[in-house]
Symmetry: D2
Subunit: 341 residues, 4 copies
Amino acid sequence: MRFDTDSFRKRARENFERAWHEGPEVLTPSGREGRYPRLSYSRAQTHPIYEMVNRLRETYLLIGFDETCNPIIVEEKDVYRQFGPEASAVLDRVFYLGGLDRPNQGIGRPELDGISRITGKDVSPDEEARLREILQKYKKSAIDGDDLIHATSEALCIDDGMTVEIYDRVFQAFRDLEPQSSRNTLRSHMTSGWFLTLSSIWDKSPLPLRLFSVDRCFRREQEEGPTRLMCYHSASCVVAGDEISVDEGKAVSQALLSAFGFTDFRFTPDEKRSKYYMPDTQTEVYARHPVHDWVEVATFGLYSPSALAEYEIGIPVMNLGLGVERLAMLTYKSDDIRRLT
Amino acid sequence: MRFDTDSFRKRARENFERAWHEGPEVLTPSGREGRYPRLSYSRAQTHPIYEMVNRLRETYLLIGFDETCNPIIVEEKDVYRQFGPEASAVLDRVFYLGGLDRPNQGIGRPELDGISRITGKDVSPDEEARLREILQKYKKSAIDGDDLIHATSEALCIDDGMTVEIYDRVFQAFRDLEPQSSRNTLRSHMTSGWFLTLSSIWDKSPLPLRLFSVDRCFRREQEEGPTRLMCYHSASCVVAGDEISVDEGKAVSQALLSAFGFTDFRFTPDEKRSKYYMPDTQTEVYARHPVHDWVEVATFGLYSPSALAEYEIGIPVMNLGLGVERLAMLTYKSDDIRRLT
Amino acid sequence: MRFDTDSFRKRARENFERAWHEGPEVLTPSGREGRYPRLSYSRAQTHPIYEMVNRLRETYLLIGFDETCNPIIVEEKDVYRQFGPEASAVLDRVFYLGGLDRPNQGIGRPELDGISRITGKDVSPDEEARLREILQKYKKSAIDGDDLIHATSEALCIDDGMTVEIYDRVFQAFRDLEPQSSRNTLRSHMTSGWFLTLSSIWDKSPLPLRLFSVDRCFRREQEEGPTRLMCYHSASCVVAGDEISVDEGKAVSQALLSAFGFTDFRFTPDEKRSKYYMPDTQTEVYARHPVHDWVEVATFGLYSPSALAEYEIGIPVMNLGLGVERLAMLTYKSDDIRRLT
Amino acid sequence: MRFDTDSFRKRARENFERAWHEGPEVLTPSGREGRYPRLSYSRAQTHPIYEMVNRLRETYLLIGFDETCNPIIVEEKDVYRQFGPEASAVLDRVFYLGGLDRPNQGIGRPELDGISRITGKDVSPDEEARLREILQKYKKSAIDGDDLIHATSEALCIDDGMTVEIYDRVFQAFRDLEPQSSRNTLRSHMTSGWFLTLSSIWDKSPLPLRLFSVDRCFRREQEEGPTRLMCYHSASCVVAGDEISVDEGKAVSQALLSAFGFTDFRFTPDEKRSKYYMPDTQTEVYARHPVHDWVEVATFGLYSPSALAEYEIGIPVMNLGLGVERLAMLTYKSDDIRRLT
């Protein structure tokens, strides 16, 4: 509670020791809510995956890489250009993007009757004409999906509730829409984005380029498991320049991973010999961790000039990538990635 | 260059002034590379969008919200549960996810002949049996796409180059694969994720819950423009608890946006009356910025109990969302979002 | 308030529109405290000076400088070694550190009588011996100041209150203590610390060394004013190596200051020609700011080999320093530094 | 090296496999400098103490405390007001600040002769008058120490080198300057600063106040040791409000320390019963750490109204403090603090 400082000062000067002992009388007895551990200060919780995304981003910046935003949507034909004869194996695990076609809803007798049954009045010729126009405009994307109901209500001079019912019960074509797939895919590796990005900047920038991106990739898994997710984060980088060698991958691995407590590094040729890497450059990075000992944590390689040539990128490029969720599992000692996300 | 400190100390003690004037003699004349502005220290560049993602994340944490990872892939039927009669308008702008079916490649005379032409030898009955088994296993996903080529090469005792050619020229079914769409979608609003997340935790957590997520959403636009992207970031939050009112949205808006230089706030009812919000709670947030004056920057509302009930979430929930790219455009004074990404 | 999700789901399925309109009935009317702007989320406030300290630290790290902790207490003779004939001008504005000598309190008749008057009993020969011992131990620092009262109380078998009174009224030597100054000073520039730090590491480290420190310095001002404080922060760095030239200062200035919104840079010889810098290398950094236009923000130079030689540092060293408070004033548009602190 | 993408694309289309194998021919063989581990990316090193300062700052902000800048220089009489009868024990370990008085240098025959010997010419009456004026102005602080040499050179029409010699050899009063101590001290606890800060704001601010500061304090140790430094950092906070109880200290301890890996907390009465805390509120915080098990890490208490009254602070105040260097030793598993600094 508040107290009178003048009086307390006087008491202390008269007899310091006694006044000191009387100090607690200024306290208000606290109720249950005011007692620890009920009384507590909370610190907002970060999420382990985003925390790891953030730490990887900061580490890349601290070792001198510039942050980049790579395309997420990649055309199927780019996968062919990048992966050559392996493309079909890659596309096997890729998501294709599709959507609903806008339906071609005709207005005939059955529809007009259906409308009348709901609105309780006939559809006038004017209203019918306006309705047809709206449906055509919608088909041609001149009307937004968001505005369709409202525009229809206005055309028929009814309220939105009735319109919703009409679309729901009368307009058959709106009910049986099937999504159609396009030939666009979601990137499954950051590599798909790097080719597109490098292609547009490599000959306009001072070399060597050192770029990174920590962002989402997508894999069409049959099912998710303790170590595999359909939506994951890749922490990927490229170094592009005239004199680049595979040693860049080793140097980056060490600089990046030593920020996460790894102390020793071993580099072994990857048995997978992806065609977008030069032969004998695809390398697995093993690192020693105080808790986990030696674990595999990253992969790097030099892009094959066959793939680079498809994008008119005329310099060697080292690429390194690691899975953020995997690093998070190691750091937070989790054995099921699904529990982290 | 290095210099002899003993000798220099002696000279300074003999005649300080003269020794001081002789100081520059220890300098190595620098070549062109050693001269400013050639000589420079670079600071790794952050990307404006990720920078904004990061600042929004930190601000949410500083005002006491916990970080959450919401599902990105949402079943079509969840969109119906969340958006009710508006679902079809929403689905109109949503990406559906598809993929390639694994082909049913038969092995008959033409295929065996085709293989022989490439390998220069007949296919033995054993090899044929092994090949059939591989193709069936692949169809049933018992073999990974990554392993198909290698397994085939082993079965036929040939090298991978020949196998690639066989798949490319002989196995018709592998060449004409058409992606098929599923009924899974990519979230177009963070709201789709919040219903799923809240549903699984609301009755197991101390209330009120204050959660946020800053992450990607996807909109199937006809085309991208200066203010619209197919892949964008939403900075979204929910407050869920017994006593939640629409004023939560105002309080969060102010706390969040004042960290980005906005000084005054105005709240106006949104003309769009989404059915996943309670009537009269959907609100547009206008904020005053020293450079841009009044701009619209966020939207909030209380989720409709009709939608919450579908997920058995039995408490009021305030939801606020803002587009990260839009905030980045304001902050970095850009008038074309595509140039920022 | 909580609501029954089963019942709400049923209502929504019977009549979505009506159920939607009934949504608000689940809200608890909020009292005055629950209404914006009373209802608010607070974001903890950072302090502009520490915020600037932190941003400078992060920027130094991002341009590749290692963080260092330099000595704060510097012997007077080091100032002479560093500043040569200018030392006396520097020392004129430096704080010297002093302290209280531990008093030589004798115990004679008057003291014994004084003690008796307070305790109401005679001091026994044993007690007197113990008291003498305590006072001698204290004088020799074998007893801590914190423990003196308690030890005395035990020796005299009295309570602490009485002991305090005895020291206060009887032990004359304890009352008239005068602080005595030593020949140690508080660093007035970070430079004083750099010489000491570099001296111990320059020949054991890979070159060039790039080090920074953002920390406190102290100036004995006659009085503080709108632009001068006795305790301020210096954001200082050194680059030490065989080929260092004055262009390092320009390169660092630009990299560091461009992170704070400065866009152009001009370097002009400083009229002050400090003797710890080589002749003609002391340079003032002017930078252009969107709000303030051209302002002076930093100073750099190459340390004179005369000074370096005193510390056996046998390579050229560039030093740059800027005042954190000044940069904060520019950034936060303040015209009185005292209001920022 | 650069390569011709047209030609490479053509080769890949003719024979993918062969072109792929030829990929490595675009590489420039790297010299020794280009090979790992010579080739390396460095990440600027942070310093453990400043890293800990920064993490404590961020944690305080995340639990809702506002950052404050407290006075570093504290008058001796404030120590008496705060510590009452314990003041002398506190002052025993405090640094007093002193400085050099500006000397009273007379100009008589010996000085004029001394000057002549150095300049090789007589001092004219005009010059003598100007010199006297300068010395008087300097004494009265109307001339800055930095400007003394230059002003003297102008007055005597000689160069700075000669002037420096004159001050050095002729002006006796400038050579025998003794630093004099003032009655100002450097804060030894952050508490000294909190009283001053709270005093000026407590009745102008909404309560409860939650403030923190992580900054330097100074202790006059006989000598530094593995766990004691003369210049250390305190991470201190106060909570001031009508209903504050000692449980605030427990709640803050837990929130703050759990961010540093401590998992359990125990609170035991401190044997030291400082008079600036209320009786029976001074508490030691023990926390359990995965590596160190139970360790003492912080102290808190409620300020005594006797001390608060001296500053007219009329509400209870909880204060908690911890030593940053100690926490850094635990976190970085160091057993000698001097090696960390």
